[in-house]
Subunit: 199 residues, 2 copies
């Protein structure tokens, strides 16, 4: 095309780099932003800048926080003997929504993935080891994703932590609730069979 | 949920307000942004701010531009006797991509929609009338969308402009190229029949 809008293209390109946003969506979002009231667009830009500048990792669990220590680690009502190990901060939100877990978390910020050149040293395993070294932790629930990378990370962690006398468990795999057996994929169905329980 | 991240929530909320982005996507985008390198996130925020501050409407065609007059209106090689009237700036980009149109554009920034309380005075029709008033324009191609609102706008414009002795045309409706007849919706198929041409 002969005619280009430099600033519009630049904004479109920024949107395009976000996950799950293609060329068309990026253009639509850029146009939408240009049609926003000035204050709203400025507030958006400010929100990005402030979030980026003020959100950091919790010194204890590595989850995102705006302070030194996150609200969960700072809550004296939580059970400090159980740590749930997850890949990402969004996993913490998902588990918190269940309201079923009252322990603490540890956010690895990724999973071991040799294909992507991500080894144990590239995720926050060192920080997890430091946390459990004083013997105050009783159980580690490995809640990494049910993927090749999540599995590899779970196995690595369990081999590393079991010798320290820690109980390590993993989330159960099986049929999703409310799902239809006929639509379950084979891997899930196989897992559900393998992990069947006495009634 | 008991624990909230103020800045993260704020950023998520900004993403959620964008068209086509739901709660889950907004959260994912906010997390993605927090994981970006600082410079990239800052560049994103800057791009929003600068685009919003510097992109305005072309004084002639109302398309978005970074100057006083857009690149198309400023191009002496374009045919100034034909104006293609579209609803949005993105429509200009779409038509330019075909490389088939060498005239000028007029961007209405919307369409007449009584349901949404948008009347003729709320879109840039006044500016269009001013452009054609000196008699230099020969043909107006109404390229509003094939929707109820686009049709209403097209009919309104044609009634308004025909008395001025202007030729007004509308884009052809029919089967999309490369499509399969069997998958065309009834309205499109009916239009294709109605507008059939001699071979």
């Amino acid at each position: 095309m002969a005619y280009r809008f430099h600033l519009l293209d630049e904004l479109t390109e920024h949107f395009r780099r976000l996950p799950g946003i293609g060329n068309k969506s990026a253009q639509r979002l850029a146009f939408y932003l240009l049609n926003m009231p000035e204050e709203e667009a400025t507030a958006f830009a400010d929100a990005i800048r402030r979030a980026k500048q003020n959100v950091r990792s919790c010194r204890i669990c590595q989850n995102l926080t705006e302070g030194e220590i996150c609200a969960i680690c700072g809550d004296s009502g939580r059970n400090k003997e159980i740590i749930c190990v997850v890949e990402n901060p969004s996993d913490v939100l998902a588990i918190e929504k269940t309201g079923e877990f009252k322990g603490l978390y540890h956010v690895l910020h990724g999973a071991i993935s040799p294909m992507d050149n991500i080894g144990p040293g590239d995720i926050r395993i060192k920080e997890l080891l430091a946390r459990v070294s004083d013997g105050s932790v009783r159980e580690l629930i490995i809640a990494t994703n049910p993927t090749v990378e999540g599995d590899a990370t779970a196995i690595y962690l369990s081999k590393l932590l079991k010798p320290l006398g820690l109980k390590t468990t993993r989330l159960a795999f099986g049929l999703p609730m409310g799902g239809d057996l006929e639509y379950a994929d084979e891997l899930t169905l196989a897992k559900a069979l393998e992990n069947r329980r006495d009634l």
